[in-house]
């Protein structure tokens, strides 16, 4: 086989790979949401403030994200018809039990169109131990559209989104993320509502 023939074959293969990739991107889209590992928390500088919301819980009480300032929050968008969500919910109940005394809360936002008629029986059957609210389009939009369920946000004590996981995650990955966020004490400098200022502005000499 001459080197020219070899070169032509390699060139054809490379061309096919490139065409396949481009066509594949055109068909399926290259910008689709990609799974994000919950364990890989974003660096502080890349975290954006989690949008506030006011949603009713099963008792008709309004739940605002801002009420949880200073806490680490796991915000779970889910639905009763979502199989992967049903795998994660018992994990979240476990996290709530284990970490609630460390300044941690789980909030579940159901995206069921049928509202409490669908959600209440499920919540009662499973015995969910954290607050559940019924979501709406505007809340979903403010969190980027929530196209896939479950979508789980880990929110740090400053109210900023530290991790997002789209789809079924691994329990240990999510818990690792929670434990990392809980390492910062509730009232530590740089915690909720505080702003880091250069030393000269806080009286240091």
């Amino acid at each position: 086989m001459t080197s020219r023939i070899k070169f032509a074959r390699v060139f054809r293969l490379g061309g096919a790979l490139l065409v396949g990739f481009v066509v594949g991107c055109l068909i399926y889209g290259c910008s689709g949401a990609k799974p994000v590992k919950a364990a890989s928390l974003k660096p502080d500088k890349d975290r954006h403030t989690a949008p506030n919301f006011a949603l009713k819980d099963a008792n008709g009480k309004t739940v605002r994200l801002s009420d949880y300032k200073g806490k680490v929050v796991l915000l779970d968008f889910w639905a009763t018809w979502c199989g992967p969500c049903k795998i994660e919910i018992p994990w979240f109940m476990d996290f709530e039990r284990k970490h609630k005394d460390q300044g941690f809360s789980v909030l579940g936002v159901s995206m069921d169109d049928d509202g409490w008629d669908a959600v209440k029986p499920f919540v009662n059957e499973i015995g969910i131990n954290y607050r559940i609210m019924i979501g709406n389009d505007s809340t979903a939009e403010s969190y980027g559209g929530i196209e896939a369920l479950p979508t789980t946000f880990l929110i740090d004590r400053d109210g900023k989104i530290a991790a997002v996981h789209v789809g079924l995650a691994s329990k240990s990955e999510i818990e690792n993320g929670i434990e990392q966020l809980l390492q910062r004490p509730e009232n530590a400098p740089g915690g909720a509502g505080s702003v880091s200022l250069p030393a000269q502005y806080v009286g240091a000499k």
Partner: protein, 153 residues
């Protein structure tokens, strides 16, 4: 060899995109010739992108939303919808296999043409409601419009 590489690359972006909702399509395969006073049936071609599944018309769990085809009232009287045999597939998120459809398949939609129907062309409009999932995420139920052209004879 280049063909295999082409196929492999076509599949690669589909794996990335599986946390975005799938574009399910449902199209009538042919124009229906409907004789007054007689029954008629036609095939509806359904296509689900690779990497996704939709619940069958008879889901194996009560909480799952079934596949359903409905028609808005028109000149033809909708009858039975015949679904293919579902596949039983096991997913990471389910202890038991689930009754689902994947890929391309046909539904059969049956109609009766009233004896008093006016002769001439028309379009029946239907909705195929489905709820799709990938192997690790699910997507809110959606409806896709089905348009069926007919000619009453």
């Amino acid at each position: 060899m280049p063909l295999a590489a082409l196929v492999a690359c076509l599949c690669l972006p589909s794996m990335w995109a599986q946390n975005s909702p799938p574009q399910v399509t449902a199209d009538a395969r042919e124009k229906v010739a409907a004789k007054r006073g007689a029954s008629v049936e036609t095939k509806i071609a359904v296509s689900i992108p690779p990497g996704y599944h939709i619940n069958s018309n008879t889901p194996s769990e009560a909480y799952l939303i079934p596949l359903k085809l409905t028609w808005t009232p028109g000149a033809l009287e909708p009858g039975e919808v015949v679904f293919p045999k579902p596949q039983m597939e096991k997913y990471e998120f389910s202890d038991k296999p689930l009754s689902v459809f994947t890929g391309d398949f046909d539904l059969i939609a049956r109609f009766k043409t009233p004896a008093a129907a006016a002769a001439g062309p028309g379009v029946m409009v239907g909705k195929l409601r489905y709820q799709a999932c990938s192997s690790n995420a699910c997507f809110p139920p959606k409806s896709v419009e089905v348009r069926l052209s007919y000619q009453v004879q």
